[in-house]
């Protein structure tokens, strides 16, 4: 069997893996990346990117439908129709271009790529089943970056009309009746998009509310909007399984009564689990943390020179966390002294309106023992939001009561995902409320709401 030697072997070509590879290439280190399906991984192929494209198209369609009714902007249009095949082609075009971009970047930085499934034989050796037959790769360092897969529901296995987010992003038609199991961010992002595209959407959630990971103050505007879009929300409800005829989902309410929800598609979005199957972890005997690989602040596993990054290593399962870990691991392998000490890893729900959280929520800050000050500023009192017709939502700032150090910044509102970067910077720079108050924010922008929320937390609000 042919044997390849390289300094670093990366298994998994998602955002974590490919960024590690590029950074290693920049640092002049011989690197090989093995990917079994698509470069760009879940994120680029069946996750973040295609979902945002679909969300954008759905938003544009809904806007046009809205204009065809009563439009406040003075734009008159006939009721629009959607050619969903064309929408999907457009989305595929974007994914294709970006995927090609990743391949080109890897090549540009001298990274060798191999398509195939890798199984670890020991801490330095992997066997790869590639198109051209099996190959053995020996490396000084191994970076595990295989990511995650949609978690299945035992009572409702994937197949037929039961689909995961991956299939939901490549449907050939807009389903007439869509049932979403799980009101986390993936379920709500896709459920909202299909509701806008014309599906009758029902969301089933075992917990008593949507987005259970967030506090209700933040999620209330999202719940309101779902209602306005005609999405039926069944909280505190469990998915029992398919009906005997296979055409409906049977759900059970808290009281024990059951209901049949006829559906053309049932999207199960109850979470994701690490993708370790067939990776040969049993050969390595790595320290684990539940189903995840245990790592330290350098992303080192329990075995020397075996590193793990991204979804494989636990929550938060976010592409940008994986990328940041990957950059760091590359630099550590290159001999730099680095540790993962991010104060802020922003999380965004691309729901309608969008939700951004960075740092600690008021509740978590209190639990962590902080005495806090917290206040929010509503977009209703923000000039830019008024001009955009996006008055729903607010920015909320949590700070230490004693020295005003900002601990967390959250926001909900239309198009506010981009505010997350300034929030992250404020936390990483160790900003106090006074620092934000003293920073001139441009007028009229949504960002002024962050400035005002900081002022209000200080007790010095001007515009409310």
């Amino acid at each position: 069997m042919p044997e390849i030697r390289t300094k670093v072997l990366i298994i998994g070509g998602g955002p974590g893996g490919y960024v590690t590879a590029i950074r290693l290439g920049q640092l002049g280190i011989a690197t090989m990346l093995v990917e079994r399906a698509w470069l760009g991984g879940t994120c680029l192929n069946v996750g973040c990117i295609p979902s945002k494209a679909l969300i954008h198209a759905a938003e544009a369609f809904e806007q046009a439908v809205h204009q065809a009714g009563t439009d406040r902007y003075g734009i008159r249009v006939e009721r629009p129709s959607i050619d969903f095949g064309r929408t999907m082609e457009w989305k595929d075009g974007i994914v294709g271009r970006l995927k090609g971009g990743v391949a080109a970047l890897l090549k540009k930085h001298g990274v060798k790529t191999l398509a195939g499934h890798a199984t670890m034989l020991d801490g330095k050796t992997a066997r790869v089943e590639s198109d051209t037959g099996p190959q053995v790769i020996k490396a000084e360092h191994v970076v595990l970056a295989t990511g995650s897969v949609p978690a299945p529901l035992t009572a409702l296995p994937f197949g037929g009309r039961v689909i995961s987010s991956s299939e939901a992003l490549s449907l050939s038609d807009v389903p007439q009746r869509l049932v979403v199991v799980g009101a986390g961010y993936i379920g709500l992002e896709l459920g909202t998009a299909f509701a806008k595209l014309g599906s009758k959407v029902t969301v089933v959630e075992a917990e008593d509310r949507i987005l259970p990971a967030y506090d209700t103050e933040l999620t209330r505007p999202v719940a309101r909007r779902l209602g306005a879009l005609g999405v039926e929300m069944l909280a505190a409800t469990r998915a029992r399984g398919l009906s005997p005829d296979g055409e409906a989902l049977v759900v059970e309410f808290a009281g024990g009564t059951e209901r049949r929800l006829p559906a053309d598609k049932i999207l199960v979005a109850i979470g994701r689990r690490p993708c370790t199957e067939g990776l040969g972890l049993d050969q390595l005997d790595l320290g684990m943390d539940g189903a995840f690989i245990r790592i330290d602040e350098r992303c080192a596993t329990s075995m020397r020179n075996v590193w793990a990054i991204g979804d494989l290593t636990g929550e938060p399962m976010l592409a940008h966390r994986a990328m940041a870990q990957g950059e760091m691991v590359a630099e550590i392998i290159a001999g730099q002294r680095r540790a993962f000490d991010k104060v802020a890893i922003p999380a965004i729900c691309f729901t309608d309106p969008e939700v951004v959280t960075v740092g600690l929520s008021p509740e978590k800050a209190r639990k962590a023992g902080h005495e806090i000050r917290v206040a929010s500023f509503p977009f209703q009192a923000n000039g830019r939001a008024l001009t955009l017709g996006a008055e729903e939502g607010f920015v909320r700032v949590t700070a230490r009561a004693d020295n005003h150090l900002i601990l967390g910044i959250d926001a909900v509102g239309q198009g506010i995902a981009e505010l997350s970067a300034a929030f992250g910077l404020a936390l990483e720079m160790g900003a106090r409320l006074e620092d934000i108050a003293g920073t001139i924010h441009a007028h009229p922008t949504l960002g002024e709401a962050f400035h005002e929320a900081s002022l209000r937390t200080l007790g010095e609000a001007l515009h409310i």
């Binding site: 950074r23 902007y73 929408t87 990328m323 001009t387 441009a442 007028h443 922008t445």
Partner: protein, 469 residues
């Protein structure tokens, strides 16, 4: 009105003035605000930032409905325009905003005095109401916040019907077939964009050989290309020397700046947008002995004190960029100074935004300024075409450009052309306030997929470490 006495009287109810008044009242000072117009909010809220952004949003949606949807597989017949409804929506946004300031005045117990203020001397302001009635207001401190007005163009008299200023351009009763915008600055390009999107043929005439004077040269070049592709026409290095207004529109005489024959350019509507100048007419500056500079701006000591003790000035009437947010911060600082505090306004870090499509935003220095100052710098420039969210939003034009000190890597300036540039610029602004390096920005975990990742990548590029290009 009976004579009244206050701790502070602010003349002008625009963003600088009303914020100053609110802050002064919050600090426990008995405060009045004199405003000649029926509504508070000044130019910005009534005939500036707010209504223009409302129309920019509406006209953008109109253009999207007409041209932007097909690529997503959305089929819709060409949209119709109900301009009256569009303008009514704009008026409603303005009305909501001014009502908001009324509410804030009541809440904070600021006395509002309607009328035109004139400074008699330190401590005394005379207010002339709309009906001509005069009253006297006394105050320990007077704050001049009278803002700015449209700079007139010689021989091109504004009638707000055919030859309009930004004020008239926000309320045209119908979409003109053709429009000439004189001046390729922020206001001209924004309002020119509105009417071009709604169907007008727009030609922009600019005296200089570039658009967006004062902004980074590369940004200006990119925007000229982009706006040209959108259908806007440009005549640079040209001056307008006269106008004849007739039944069929306006005929402008236009001459090349570098010499050559004059030419006649016709348009239904002419928008004069060559700039703004301090508004101090009838304010009594001279009589009160308040010094002004050669551009008509009130001279201050850098801490808003004028040459006359007890009289302060903030906003467009003093030195610095004429921006609402600069005025607001000065208003807060001025009130704090009056209350005995020691605030500082960081005038080196004032972001500016142009609400064209794509947007333009900038903070700190331009490349040209750094070159002229002899400062060695490194640049990083990342295009939105390599950004996932920009692609997914079908809005991938433009770039993020970062300028950092070649020796220390400290951020010196940032320039963004692209979607939501006006929001993205704040990370840079905050970074600059903190004295951040480009590496600091590059090492921060930016959420994926966001446009802000382009901010990170451009920052990484300063040191050649970009990942996605």
């Amino acid at each position: 009105m009976a004579d009244q006495s206050f701790d502070v009287v602010v003349i002008g109810g625009g963003p600088g003035g009303y914020v100053c008044a609110i802050k002064a009242a919050q600090l426990g000072l008995k405060t009045a605000c004199v405003e000649k117009d029926a509504t508070l909010g000044g130019t910005c809220v009534n005939v500036g930032c707010i209504p223009s952004k409302a129309l920019l949003q509406s006209s953008h949606l109109f253009e999207e409905a007409g041209h932007g949807l097909a690529q997503h597989g959305i089929k819709v017949a060409a949209p119709g325009l109900d301009l009256a409804a569009m303008l009514a929506r704009k008026d409603k946004v303005v009305q909501q905003s001014t009502a908001g300031i009324d509410f804030l005045f009541k809440k904070n117990k600021v006395t509002r005095i309607q009328g035109t203020g004139r400074i008699v001397k330190a401590g005394e302001v005379e207010v002339t109401a709309a009906d001509g009635a005069k009253s006297k207001v006394t105050a320990k401190h007077i704050v001049i916040a009278t803002g700015s007005e449209v700079t007139p163009l010689p021989n091109v008299a504004i009638d707000e019907k055919k030859i309009v200023s930004s004020t008239g351009a926000l309320a045209l009763p119908q979409v003109p077939k053709s429009m000439v915008v004189v001046g390729a600055g922020v206001i001209g390009l924004e309002l020119g964009s509105v009417w071009r999107r709604l169907g007008a043929e727009v030609t922009v005439i600019e005296f200089l050989d570039r658009i967006l004077p004062g902004m980074d040269g590369e940004v200006a070049k990119q925007m000229q290309r982009t706006l040209t592709r959108q259908g806007m026409k440009f005549r640079l290095s040209a001056k307008v020397t006269g106008a004849k207004s007739g039944a069929s529109g306006v005929a402008l005489s236009v001459e090349p700046v570098n010499g050559g024959a004059a030419e006649e350019v016709k348009a239904d509507i002419v928008l004069v947008a060559i700039g703004r100048r301090p508004y101090t007419n009838g304010l009594g500056l001279k009589e009160a002995g308040i010094a002004i500079d050669n551009r008509g701006r009130v001279v201050t000591d850098g801490h808003f004190a004028t040459s006359v003790s007890g009289i302060w000035a903030i906003g467009d009437v003093i030195e610095g960029p004429m921006l609402a947010h600069k005025s607001e911060h000065e208003g807060v600082a001025c009130a704090e100074l009056i209350a005995g505090q020691k605030p500082v306004v960081n005038h080196d870090v004032i972001p500016g935004v142009v609400y064209t499509w794509p947007e333009v935003a900038a903070v700190g220095r331009t490349e040209e300024e750094l070159k002229a100052a002899g400062i060695a710098y490194k640049a990083g420039k990342f295009p939105f075409s390599a950004n996932g969210r920009a692609r997914a939003n079908a809005d991938a034009e433009g770039f993020v450009k970062v300028l950092a000190d070649a020796r220390t890597d400290r951020l010196l300036g940032a320039h963004v052309v692209g979607p939501m540039a006006g929001e993205l610029i704040h990370e840079f602004a905050m970074g600059m306030v903190f004295g951040a390096s480009s590496e600091d920005i590059g090492r921060i975990c930016h959420a994926h997929p966001t446009l802000a990742e382009a901010v990170k990548e451009a920052s990484l590029m300063v040191t050649g470490r970009q990942v996605n290009l």
